[in-house]
C-alpha cells in the first residue's frame, strides 16, 4: 500500500471517546450514553468478540455480596494481597459498587450462580472472606453486553467503529482532546476530536514471550499489546506500580488458566510431584506465584492440577465449564496429547510476565473516578492501577469513568496538528522501507530480551542489560518493514511493547527492594523495605522526552490493616534517566457475484443488524433448511425481540436435533431477561413431554428460574428416564420448598440423583427421614452427601457420622467430619481425624473444629495441625487459631 496523505483522513468527533470495547470499554460507553453523552467507541478488533471476555468468563473473582462479605473485609484483603501499597479509595469503589454491578449485569441477562432459593452462591478462595461468584452460563457475557450496545436507546448515542486503532492520545494545553490512529483494514488515517477520552485497552499481554515460543499464545488476549500504557505515557499521564508484574499459574504450553477457582469447589487442587498440596491459598498473588515458582524448581516439581481422584461425573462437570468458557479449546489441547482429567493430572506452569492492574497492580494511575493525571483522560479496566480489580472492577471503573467523562467533557478548540503529523509518521513509517525486518522477528527478539533480563528473579545488572538492549532495538523498530494495513497494526504494537518493556525495566530498577513475592523479586535486594518503600512508585514522561519517577505516599487507609503503617509524606522525585493486501470484510470482489449456496443465511445476518421484530424472523425460523433455522435462532437470541421466549419454546419441538439444541441453549442463556408470562410458561410446559431429554431438562430448568413451574409438574418429572431431567426436577422442587416428593427419589437408580436429593434436603433445611436411608446408601458419595446435608437440617445424623469417621472411603469421612462439626458433639473423632491419611479429611476436620476453638483440647489439637504436611490444612488451622 501507499502512504495515505494526512489530509485524506477520516475525521470524527464526539463528546466521550472510548478506546477499547472490552469489559471496561463497553460499560463506559453504555453509561456515558445513559448520561446523555454522544459516544464514539473505537475497537481494534470487533466489539462482538473482543477482549478478555470474548469467549466468556467462568466467574466473578471479587464480588462483595452483602451478607456474605463486607466492603471493609475486601479492602483489607486486597491491601494485604498487595503488600500495603494501594489507594484504598479506589479499591473501596469496587467493594461497594460490585454488588449493584452484578445486579445490573443480571438485568442485562448475565447469569450468576444462585442456590435454589435465589441467593448468590459465593465461594471462598481468598485468604479471608468469600468473593468468588461462579457464572454458570458465563460464556455469554460479551454477547449480552453487545446486545445492550445495540439496543435502540443506546445505539442512537453510541457509534461503534471496529478495526480502528488509535496510536496516540492528542493533548492541547495539557488536556486530552482526541486521538490519532488508523483503520487496520483499509489503512486509512483517522483522527478524532473528543470532549473526553476513556482508555480501556486492557493489559499489556504481549510483554514476555510465553515458554511455548508462540507470539500470540499469551495468557492475555493478544490484541492487548500495551497500547493504552504507551498512549497514556506519551500523553504525559502518570503510571504506577509497573514493576508489580502480572504472572499466573497456567496449563503448561496451552498457557490458559485451569483455574483452581473452578476446580476447587469440585474438590480439585494443585499438587507437586508427590501429590502434596503446597500453597496455603489458591488466591492469585505474588506470594502464591513465588511459592509456585519455588515448587516447580525444586525436587518436588513439576506441579499439577489434580482432578483424577474425583468421580467421573464431577470431572464431567468441571470439563463442562473449562471446555466451554474463557479458553474453550482446552479440551482440544488435552485431547491432542491424549490426556484426560480422569486419568491424567494437568501439568501447570507459570506464565510469561505482563502488565495488568486487574490481576496485580501495574497500570495507569487513576483516582476513584478513573481520572488520570491528565485532565480529560480516563483509564479503566486492566489498564488502570486498581489492584486485583478483575472483571467486576473493570465494569465498576468503566461505569465510573463513563459517568464522570459524560459529566465533564469539553469541546476541544481544534487538534494539535504537530502531534497529528507525528502520529501519522509513527503509523506509516514501515511502508517507507517494506523490506525492513518483519514484525514477527523483531517482536520475538524484543520479547526474548524481556524474558532474559526483565522477568524475575530481577537483578540490577540484568535490568541494565535490558535497557541497553531496548535502546539498541529502538532503531531496529524504526526500521521495521510492512506492506499491508494489517502489518502496520502489528508494527505499531511492537512500538507499544517496547515502551512497556522500558517502563517495566526502569521501574524494576528504581524500586530498590523486593515486594509482592515473585512479581517484584529483586534477587540482589531480597528484603522488603517498608521504611523506604511503602510508597507507590509512579512514572511519567517529561516534556523533554525523559522518564521521571516519583515516590507517592500511600493515602491514609480507610480500613486499617495490621502490619502496614503508611507514613504521611510529600511526593518525592526519584531518579530520572535520559531518555499482499488484506481485503476488508464485506468488500465485494470484482468479478464475483455473491452466488452463495445459502443466501438465506446472508439475509439473516443483515436483518439481525437491524434489531428485527419477530415477524421478520418468522420466515427464517420456519425455513426448510435446518441450518437457516439454527441461524435464525442465533439471531433471535442476540436481538431478543418481543415474543422471543414463546418462539424459542416452539423451536424446542423442531424435528432437527441441532435446532432444538440451539433453542435450548438460547432459552437457558436468556432465562434472566425473558418476561415470565403465563403464555411463555404454557409454551414451555407443553414441551415437557418432548422425546429429547435435553429439551425436557431445559424446560424444567427455565421454568424453575422463571418461577413458572408447579409442584405437580416437577414431581412428575422425577419419573423421567433421563437422570439429568430428574436432577432438574429435584432442583425445581427445592426451589418451591417442597421436599415431600423427594423421598421417593432417595431410592433412584442413579447415584448422582441420590446425591442431589441429599443436597436438596439440605437446601430446604428441614429434617427428612429420607436422609437416614441415604446415609446407609451402598454408594460412598451418597453417604457422604447425606451426612453433610443432615447438618443443615438442624437434625444431624450424629451416630451415623461417628460410624462414618471409620468409613474406608475418604469422601464419607470428610462428610462425616462436616456433620460432626455442625453438631458440635462429640468432637473426639474430629480430633482423631487430624491424623487421617487423606488430606481432604484432615482439612474437613480442621474446618469442623474451627468453630470450637474456645475449647482448650480443640485449640491444642489445631496447634498440632500447624505442622501438617499439607499447606491447606496448615493454613486453615492457622486461620482458626487466629480467629
Amino acid at each position: 500500500m501507499e502512504i495515505p496523505p494526512i489530509e485524506d483522513r477520516l475525521h470524527l468527533d464526539c463528546e466521550v471517546l472510548v478506546v477499547g470495547g472490552g469489559t471496561a470499554g463497553t460499560m463506559a460507553a453504555i453509561t456515558a450514553a445513559e448520561h446523555g453523552a454522544r459516544v464514539l467507541l473505537l475497537e481494534k478488533a470487533h466489539v462482538r468478540h473482543s477482549g478478555a471476555l470474548a469467549m466468556g468468563m467462568d466467574g466473578v473473582n471479587n464480588a462483595v455480596i452483602p451478607g456474605k462479605a463486607t466492603p471493609e473485609d475486601y479492602v483489607a484483603e486486597i491491601t494485604r494481597a498487595n503488600d500495603g501499597i494501594v489507594n484504598q479509595k479506589t479499591v473501596y469503589q469496587t467493594a461497594t459498587r460490585g454488588h449493584a454491578m452484578v445486579r445490573r449485569l443480571e438485568g442485562y441477562g448475565v447469569k450468576f450462580e444462585k442456590d435454589e432459593h435465589g441467593d448468590y452462591a459465593v465461594r471462598r478462595v481468598h485468604r479471608s472472606g468469600s468473593y468468588v461468584l461462579p457464572m454458570p452460563e458465563g460464556k455469554d457475557v460479551k454477547k449480552v453486553l453487545y446486545r445492550v450496545l445495540r439496543r435502540r436507546d443506546i445505539r442512537e448515542r453510541v457509534r461503534i467503529e471496529n478495526r480502528v486503532m488509535p496510536v496516540r492520545v492528542l493533548t492541547e494545553g495539557g488536556r486530552a482532546v482526541g486521538v490519532a490512529g488508523f483503520d487496520t483494514r483499509s489503512g486509512r488515517f483517522v483522527t478524532v476530536a473528543a470532549g473526553a477520552v476513556v482508555l480501556a485497552t486492557g493489559a499489556c499481554g504481549r510483554l514476555g514471550l510465553p515458554a511455548g515460543g508462540y507470539l500470540y499464545g499469551t495468557y492475555e488476549n493478544p490484541t492487548n499489546a500495551g497500547d493504552g500504557y504507551a498512549m497514556a505515557y506519551h500523553a504525559g499521564a502518570e503510571l504506577s506500580g509497573i514493576e508489580c508484574f502480572q504472572i499466573n499459574p497456567l496449563i503448561k504450553d496451552y498457557n490458559g488458566p485451569a483455574c483452581a477457582y473452578v476446580a476447587n469447589p469440585f474438590g480439585g487442587y494443585q499438587v507437586n510431584n508427590r501429590g502434596e498440596r503446597f500453597v496455603d491459598s489458591d488466591y492469585w498473588s505474588g506470594h502464591m506465584m513465588a511459592e509456585v515458582a519455588r515448587e516447580i524448581a525444586s525436587a518436588r516439581g513439576p506441579i499439577y492440577l489434580k482432578l483424577s481422584h474425583l468421580p467421573g461425573e464431577t470431572v464431567t462437570a468441571v470439563e463442562r465449564i473449562l471446555h466451554s468458557t474463557e479458553r474453550p479449546t482446552r479440551g482440544t489441547f488435552h485431547a491432542g496429547r491424549g490426556h484426560d482429567y480422569r486419568t491424567d493430572d494437568v501439568e501447570m506452569h507459570i506464565s510469561e510476565i505482563g502488565l495488568c492492574g486487574g490481576h496485580s497492580a501495574s497500570g495507569v494511575w487513576v483516582d476513584e473516578h478513573g481520572a488520570t493525571t491528565v485532565p480529560g483522560l480516563y483509564a479503566a479496566g486492566d489498564l488502570a492501577c486498581v489492584p486485583h480489580n478483575y472483571m467486576i472492577g473493570a465494569f465498576v471503573f468503566g461505569d465510573l469513568a463513563g459517568a464522570h467523562a459524560a459529566a465533564s467533557h469539553r469541546v476541544p478548540a481544534g487538534l494539535p496538528e504537530g502531534q497529528v503529523a507525528e502520529a501519522h509518521e509513527l503509523v506509516y513509517r514501515p511502508l517507507r522501507h517494506p523490506d525492513g525486518p518483519p514484525q514477527p522477528q523483531v517482536e520475538y527478539k524484543l520479547r526474548r530480551f524481556v524474558n532474559d533480563y526483565v522477568a524475575p528473579p530481577k537483578t540490577a545488572a540484568k535490568l541494565e542489560i535490558a535497557l541497553e538492549s531496548f535502546e539498541r532495538m529502538r532503531d531496529e523498530i524504526a526500521g521495521m518493514g510492512a506492506r499491508t494495513p494489517h502489518e502496520l497494526m502489528r508494527c505499531a504494537e511492537v512500538g507499544f511493547i517496547r515502551d512497556c518493556a522500558e517502563m517495566a525495566a526502569r521501574s524494576s530498577l528504581t524500586r530498590t527492594e523486593s515486594r509482592w513475592g515473585l512479581y517484584h523479586d529483586r534477587a540482589d535486594l531480597p528484603d522488603r523495605d517498608d521504611a523506604n518503600w511503602l510508597f507507590h512508585l509512579n512514572l511519567r514522561k517529561l516534556p523533554d522526552g525523559s522518564m521521571a519517577f516519583v515516590k507517592r505516599p500511600v493515602e491514609p487507609y480507610l480500613v486499617p490493616v495490621e502490619g502496614f503503617d503508611p507514613v504521611a509524606a510529600e511526593p518525592e522525585p526519584v531518579a530520572t534517566r535520559p531518555g499482499a493486501r488484506v481485503r476488508r470484510a464485506g468488500e465485494t470482489r470484482a468479478g464475483h457475484a455473491a452466488v452463495g449456496r445459502s443466501p438465506r443465511i446472508l439475509e439473516l445476518h443483515r436483518i439481525a443488524e437491524e434489531a428485527p421484530d419477530l415477524a421478520r424472523l418468522a420466515p427464517y425460523l420456519a425455513d426448510e433448511e435446518p441450518k437457516v433455522r439454527r441461524a435464525a435462532i442465533a439471531a433471535l437470541t442476540e436481538t431478543v425481540p418481543e415474543g422471543a421466549g414463546v418462539a424459542l419454546a416452539a423451536a424446542l419441538a423442531d424435528e432437527h436435533g441441532t435446532v432444538r439444541r440451539a433453542a435450548a441453549t438460547g432459552l437457558r442463556e436468556l432465562a434472566e431477561v425473558l418476561p415470565a408470562t403465563p403464555e411463555f410458561g404454557a409454551a414451555l410446559a407443553e414441551r415437557v413431554t418432548s422425546p429429547d431429554a435435553s429439551v425436557r431438562g431445559t424446560v424444567l430448568d427455565v421454568l424453575r428460574a422463571l418461577r413458572l413451574g408447579d409442584v405437580a409438574l416437577f414431581a412428575a418429572a422425577l419419573g423421567d428416564d433421563d437422570h439429568r431431567v430428574r436432577i432438574e426436577a429435584i432442583r425445581g422442587l427445592v426451589s418451591l420448598d417442597e421436599p415431600g416428593p423427594l423421598a421417593g427419589a432417595a431410592r433412584d437408580a442413579s447415584r448422582e440423583v441420590r446425591v442431589w436429593v441429599a443436597r436438596g434436603i439440605a437446601a430446604v433445611g428441614r429434617p427428612s427421614p429420607a436422609l437416614d436411608g441415604l446415609a446407609a446408601d451402598p454408594d460412598p458419595l451418597v453417604r457422604a452427601a447425606a451426612l453433610e446435608s443432615s447438618a443443615a437440617t438442624g437434625s444431624p445424623l450424629v451416630d451415623q457420622a461417628v460410624a462414618g469417621m471409620a468409613d474406608p472411603a475418604w469422601q464419607v469421612r470428610a462428610g462425616a467430619a462436616r456433620c460432626l462439626g455442625a453438631a458440635g458433639e462429640p468432637l473426639e473423632p474430629l480430633v482423631a481425624a487430624l491424623g487421617d491419611g487423606n488430606l481432604d479429611v484432615r482439612k474437613a476436620a480442621v474446618l469442623a473444629l474451627a468453630g470450637h476453638v474456645s475449647r482448650p483440647e480443640v485449640a491444642a489439637a489445631l496447634r498440632g495441625a500447624l505442622a501438617d504436611p499439607d499447606a491447606d490444612v496448615r493454613a486453615h488451622a492457622r486461620r482458626a487459631l487466629d480467629g
Binding site: A45, H46, R48, H49, S50, G51, A54, M55, R163, T184, R185, G212, G213, Y214, L215, Y216, G217, T218, N221, P222, T223, D253, Y254, N255, R327, P328, T329, T332, F333, G336, R337, D435, G436, P437, P438, G481, H486, M489, R490, A580, V582, R583, A585, G586, R589, H592, A594, V595, G596, R597, S598, P599, I601, L602, H605, K627, R630, A631, A634
Partner: protein, 75 residues
C-alpha cells in the same frame, strides 16, 4: 534486506466445500483479524499465523466449516 516466503502451518482451517460464499462472519469477528476471504475461491482462509486459539470463528460459523487447532508449537 532479503525477504523470503517460508512455509508455516497455521492453526485454523476452513473446509471450502462447506464455507458459504458471500458470508464473512468469521472474518468479521476474529479478534486478531487473521482470517480473510480468498480472491480466488471466495471462501475464508487464514492469511497470517496469528491466533489465540480462542474459538469464536468456529463457534459462530453457520456452516460448521471452521476447525480451530492448537498452534503447532504448543500442540
Amino acid at each position: 534486506m532479503a525477504l523470503i516466503d517460508q512455509r508455516v502451518e497455521v492453526p485454523v482451517t476452513i473446509d471450502e466445500s462447506l464455507c458459504i460464499e458471500g458470508c464473512t462472519l468469521c472474518v468479521d469477528i476474529c479478534p486478531l483479524d487473521s482470517l480473510a476471504i480468498s480472491d480466488e475461491t471466495g471462501k475464508a482462509y487464514m492469511h497470517v499465523d496469528e491466533c489465540w486459539y480462542c474459538g469464536p470463528c468456529a463457534d459462530r460459523c453457520p456452516a460448521d466449516a471452521v476447525t480451530v487447532n492448537i498452534p503447532y508449537l504448543l500442540r
